[in-house]
Amino acid sequence: MLTRSALLAVCLLIALLAGSSTRWPSGRILAEATPQQDDAGAEEEAFERELGRRTLEGNCLMCHSIEMIETQRLTPEQWAAEVEKMVGWGAPVPPEETDLLVAYLAASYATESAEPVFGRQTLDDARSSTRPAPDPDALPEGAADRGAAVFTEHCATCHGPDGLGGDLGVSLIARPVLLRPADYASILRKGRHRMPGFQIVLSDQQVADTLAWLQAQSR
């Protein structure tokens, strides 16, 4: 676990440094005669913000999309209470990341932040990502009984033995994605949020079998 966290931190640092070179041209930093400490402070702050943003992306968007968060204008106390409520409701935010997440939310979506902007869409368009989308070519025909075994071996650790969700994974029962086989296959292959991709682990047939099992459980 320690190794994983350390690895994550290194990856984030690399990503951040790569990003920072474009955001703050090194020339400007060098030219300005600001004390070293301030630069380090600013970078530390940006780093922490990035960590907070990633915590949000990895732990909040699995249940609801970003609008739910970015249209709120709350005080730090209100944000802390919201995060606590959501953690209580199963958001798998690691305890050591909670403060970073709250700080990120409080800084990004504060009471005094600019008014949120809301998009407009027809109902049809708004529903495009959850509407059933049958696609007979997306996957081979699955078998629920085989899927049960695949699910137990590869999915149940995070999504629970019954598919209703576990410590890290959301419930998969009666989710709209079960009626969108192409999306389902893509998520299993590439991963999403905190879920790794299973491209080299599961065959298309096995993916189809898990889908058949989850569909059978969704009645």
Binding site: R120, Q121, G166, V177, S218
Partner: protein, 398 residues
């Protein structure tokens, strides 16, 4: 349909028997005048050019109707606001079943065909999210920041809940009707949207289980194939994707009944942060009196001369008795109420205004049959429920 031993008793007698057994007539029976199996066709005249909704959250979908699209007496299905706690359930084709259990003589399990064989009722009902207007409260409140359009009026068709309860036979100790839909929470620790209504409201003949909305099979996003419709109460009671009805002696357990949808008995003054933690919290039930201006729109530029100011007005139990309009703080003038007058639905209203060039503020205040009218400021409460301050829009006249 499993068992129904009561079929020997004439229907009307059965209903009155149940009502008597439960301690007399419930509120609303005396005012209930709207019944009939046929679709009434009001929706056919609804013609709105702008088909877009304001998206508050995409997944699960929370979207409200722009006010300028709410002007017709009936709100079209695709423009009707959408409030979701969880994503709509992806249930594969199968016979949908509705279970009625708990404190009943005979638990029953009904298919949609069983419901179709029962006496059908159609009535126009306003549904409004309890949090409609939350985004207007200051200080800010966490939650979907609805402005004014999480409300709509549709014509619903289905069966009376009381008729369903009679098939199961309600036992003496039952006081509450628990409701559970097919939408499941995303995580085992997330509370299910488990709700209940008091038995007295459940047996009100206005309360129905709907299978159709504006003449169409109930759209899935609006709870199809089956949802409850609880007229006059905030729409959180009108549970979608209804699957289980359980008679019980107490309210439903869990967050959404015991913690959420509660409001202090003593409302804090606007802007107050201080809320008595010992103060008694009550469930949000009946809607309060409210109006909207649907034309002109906020900030609209008009030409001087006659302007038809139009809108809608509704309340909880009771009726709208008047809508008054004040231009730039001048005396309140009565608007003309039109459209059908049905309890649980809304009225449309209009007023001809001779607009002079300049900036103007149009204020509107509805009054209901209980003598309640919209306040200057809506009392702040920590969940942002029941906003109903006097409506106000600004327009420019050239």
């Amino acid at each position: 349909m499993s068992q129904d031993d009561t079929s020997a008793i004439p229907k009307s007698n059965r209903r009155s028997l149940l009502r008597r057994a439960l301690g007399g007539a419930s509120a609303g029976i005396g005012l209930w005048a709207w019944r009939g199996p046929e679709a009434l066709g009001w929706f056919s005249s609804a013609d709105v050019a702008d088909r877009e909704l304001i998206i508050r959250n995409l997944v699960p979908l929370d979207a409200e109707t722009p006010l300028t699209s709410l002007g017709s007496w009936i709100t079209p299905n695709d423009l009707f606001f959408k409030r979701s706690h969880f994503v709509e359930p992806a249930i594969l084709p199968e016979p949908w079943r509705l279970e009625i259990k708990g404190l009943v003589d005979r638990p029953v399990s009904l298919a949609l065909d069983d419901l179709a064989e029962m006496e059908q009722v159609t009535r126009p009902v306003v549904l409004q999210c309890a949090g409609n207007g939350r985004g207007l409260f200051r200080p800010n409140i966490p939650g979907i920041p609805w402005a004014k359009g999480a409300v709509g009026n549709a014509e619903w068709t289905g069966v009376r809940l009381v008729d369903l309860l009679e098939r199961a036979g309600v036992q003496g100790g039952a006081r509450h009707v628990h409701l559970l839909g097919a939408d499941t929470p995303p995580h085992p620790k997330t509370p299910a949207f488990f709700r209940s209504i008091p038995l007295a409201k459940a047996i009100d003949p206005m309360t129905m289980v709907a299978t159709h909305m504006n003449g169409e099979p109930l759209p899935h996003l609006h709870g199809g194939p089956l949802r409850l419709i609880v007229p006059c109460w905030t729409a959180n009671h009108s549970l979608k994707w209804l699957r289980e009805i359980t008679l019980a002696d107490e309210e439903a357990p869990g967050f959404y009944q015991r913690t959420g949808y509660r409001i202090p008995r003593e409302l804090a003054p606007p802007g107050s942060w201080i809320e008595d933690p010992e103060g008694e919290l009550l469930p949000v039930t009946a809607m309060n009196v409210k109006s909207l201006v649907t034309s002109p729109g906020e900030g609209q530029r008009l030409t001087s001369g006659r302007v038809d100011v139009r809108g809608v007005a509704w309340t909880g139990p009771g009726r709208i008795t008047g809508v008054d309009v004040s231009i730039d703080g001048e005396a309140w003038q009565p608007a003309t109420l039109d459209g059908p007058d049905v309890e649980g639905s809304w009225r449309t209203w209009n007023l001809a205004w001779d607009a002079s060039p300049g900036s103007h503020t149009i204020r509107v205040r509805a009054t209901d049959s209980h003598g309640e009218s919209q306040p200057e400021q809506s009392p702040w409460n920590r969940s942002g429920y029941l906003w109903n301050a006097i409506e106000s829009i600004a327009v420019e006249v050239a």
